[in-house]
C-alpha cells in the first residue's frame, strides 16, 4: 500500500482558514484583565514587602544601636532598688541558730513573708525599710539584720532583679541607732532560691563575700550613704570558710545585700533604710 493515498486524504481534510474573531477578542480582554489585576496585586505585594523590609531593617538598626549603647554605656544612670523591684525583704537573726536575738519585723520561719514596711520614709514620705531588735549575747556572734534579693529576676511576678556589676556605686538613705557592735553592708553571692517568697528561713547558708563598714552613718537624722562597689568593700574577714574571690566575680554573681549588725552583745538596734539605688 502506497503512502500517497493517505497523504492525499489528509490534505483533503484541511479545514482552511478558520477564525473565531469575537471569541478571540473576548479572550484577549479576559487575559488583559487578568494581567492587570495580577500586576496590581504584584505592585501591592511589592509595596507591602518593601514596607516589611524597611521595618525589619529599621528594627535591625535599632537593635544594633541598642546593643552599641549598652556596650558603650554598661552602667545605666540610676536604678531604684528599694522596695520597687518586687523582691522581698526579710529580717534574720541568730535565733534560728540557737541565739537569743530578737528582730522586728518577725523572721519568717515557715516560708511565709512577715516583713512589713514602716512609715514615714525619707522626707516624711512613703515608707522605708526598718528593722529593730536586740542583738543577743548567747551565741558567739549575736547578730540581726535585714536582707533583700537582687536577682535573678522573677518574670512571673513582675520583679525585675538587678545585675549590680553594671553599676559603680550604691547609695541609700539611712538613720537609726546601733548602741553597740557594728553595722556592715554585705554583698552576698550565695546561691539562693529563685522563689520570690524566699526568706531568711528558706535561704541556703549565704556566702557573704564583701562587706563595708557603715556604723558611723547611723545617726538620728537621715544620712546619705554612698559606697563604691569596687573600692569601699573588702573581702569579708569573718568568712573563714570562703576562698577569696575577686570583687568583679562577686558583683556578677551577687544575689542579695544585707544590713547586718554583729557583735552587738545585747545592744538595741533600730535602723531605717530608704531610697536605695545603684548608679
Amino acid at each position: 500500500m502506497s503512502i500517497e493515498p493517505t497523504k492525499l486524504e489528509l490534505q483533503a481534510a484541511r479545514l482552511g482558514e478558520i477564525e473565531l474573531t469575537k471569541n478571540r477578542e473576548t479572550l484577549r480582554l479576559a487575559l488583559e484583565t487578568a494581567t492587570e489585576t495580577c500586576t496590581r496585586r504584584q505592585k501591592r505585594k511589592r509595596v507591602v514587602r518593601a514596607i516589611f523590609s524597611m521595618g525589619v531593617t529599621l528594627g535591625f538598626v535599632l537593635g544594633i544601636a541598642c546593643v552599641w549603647m549598652l556596650q558603650s554605656h554598661p552602667r545605666p544612670a540610676v536604678v531604684q532598688v528599694a522596695t520597687n523591684l518586687g523582691r522581698v525583704w526579710c529580717t534574720y537573726s541568730d535565733a534560728s541558730t540557737g541565739g537569743n536575738s530578737v528582730v522586728w519585723p518577725p523572721e519568717s520561719t515557715e516560708g511565709q513573708n512577715n516583713f512589713v514596711k514602716s512609715a514615714p520614709g525619707y522626707g516624711d514620705k512613703g515608707y522605708a525599710i526598718r528593722f529593730k531588735g536586740t542583738a543577743g549575747e548567747r551565741s558567739k556572734e549575736g547578730f540581726i539584720g535585714v536582707s533583700t534579693l537582687l536577682g535573678p529576676p522573677c518574670p512571673s511576678s513582675g520583679c525585675t532583679g538587678v545585675n549590680i556589676q553594671k553599676f559603680s556605686k550604691i547609695r541609700f538613705k539611712m538613720k537609726g541607732a546601733v548602741s553597740d557592735g557594728e553595722l556592715v553592708l554585705l554583698i552576698s553571692d550565695a546561691t539562693v532560691s529563685d522563689s520570690e517568697t524566699s526568706t531568711a528561713a528558706t535561704l541556703p547558708q549565704s556566702v557573704d563575700a564583701y562587706e563595708a563598714q557603715i556604723t558611723d552613718f547611723v545617726t538620728d537624722d537621715w544620712q546619705t550613704v554612698t559606697l563604691d562597689l569596687r573600692n569601699d568593700f573588702q573581702f569579708a574577714k569573718s568568712n573563714n570558710t570562703n576562698k577569696h574571690r575577686k570583687v568583679e566575680a562577686v558583683l556578677a554573681a551577687a544575689k542579695n545585700i544585707k544590713w547586718h549588725v554583729r557583735n552587738a552583745k545585747g545592744a538595741d538596734v533600730d535602723v531605717w533604710i530608704d531610697e536605695l539605688e545603684f548608679f
Partner: protein, 212 residues
C-alpha cells in the same frame, strides 16, 4: 544570535514573558491546532483559552533558556488535548466561566460568542474528509498526532514544525514517517474489518483510508 535572544519580542520590561504579545502572535495557531486535533470548535476554543491562562498563571516561573516559547505552548495544548481525548467528560476551563469570574462577560455578548462557535462548527462539520481522518489521527500516540496535524492539516513545513515544537528537523521527519505508517496500519485494519463483514466492496487494492 545568542540563544537567549530567542523570543526576545515576547519579553516584558522585567524580562518576564508577555502573555498578551504571545497571545496576539499564536492564538490562531494554537486554536487551529487544537481544532484539527479535536474537531470540536467549542472544545478547541476552551482549550486554547486554557493554554493562555496557564501561561499567564505560570509566567513568573518561565525561564528563557533558548528553547522556543512555542514549544511550551504546543506542549500545554497537546497535554490538554490528550486529557480531553482520554476522558471526553473532561472540560477545560471554559472561557465563559473565566469571563464570569473576571466579571467581564456581558449577557449580550454571550449570544454572539455562541453564534460564532455554531457557525464555525457547521463549517467544520461540512468537511467529511476531516472527520474521517480525525477519527484515525486521534488514535495515534500524541507525538505522531502533533506532527501529522501540523504537517498535513496545517501545511507547515518541516522546518516550521521543528521550530514550533523545539525539535530537530530530522526528528520531525522521522516522527512524520512513523506516524503515517501507524495511520496506514490502522486504516488497513479497519478496511479489513469492513471487508470481512461485507460492509465494503473492494474497488481497488490500494485505496488506503478511502472507505466510502
Amino acid at each position: 544570535m545568542d540563544k537567549l535572544d530567542v523570543d526576545k519580542q515576547f519579553r516584558d520590561d522585567e524580562g518576564k514573558i508577555d502573555v498578551l504579545k504571545l497571545y496576539d502572535a499564536y492564538y490562531d495557531c494554537i486554536f487551529r491546532y487544537v481544532l484539527n486535533r479535536t474537531g470540536d470548535v467549542e472544545v478547541a476554543r476552551d482549550i486554547s483559552a486554557d493554554v493562555f491562562f496557564k501561561v499567564h498563571r505560570s509566567r513568573w516561573k518561565f525561564m528563557f533558556t533558548g528553547a522556543p516559547v512555542t514549544a511550551w505552548l504546543y506542549r500545554i495544548a497537546g497535554n490538554e488535548v490528550i486529557t480531553w481525548q482520554r476522558k471526553k467528560k473532561y472540560r477545560p476551563v471554559a472561557l465563559e466561566r473565566e469571563l464570569q469570574r473576571l466579571d467581564i462577560l456581558p449577557l449580550s455578548l454571550r449570544g454572539d460568542l455562541r453564534e460564532e462557535i455554531n457557525d464555525v462548527q457547521a463549517k467544520v462539520n461540512r468537511n467529511t474528509a476531516f472527520h474521517k481522518v480525525n477519527k484515525y489521527v486521534e488514535k495515534l500516540p500524541n507525538k505522531y498526532q502533533e506532527v501529522i496535524v501540523l504537517r498535513y492539516l496545517e501545511e507547515k513545513s518541516i522546518k516550521e514544525i521543528a521550530t514550533l515544537l523545539g525539535k530537530k528537523e530530522g526528528t520531525i521527519k522521522s516522527l512524520i514517517s512513523r506516524g503515517i505508517s501507524h495511520l496506514r496500519r490502522s486504516t488497513r485494519t479497519e478496511k479489513d474489518f469492513f471487508l470481512q463483514n461485507g460492509l465494503l466492496v473492494e474497488a481497488s487494492p490500494n485505496e488506503g483510508v478511502n472507505l466510502t
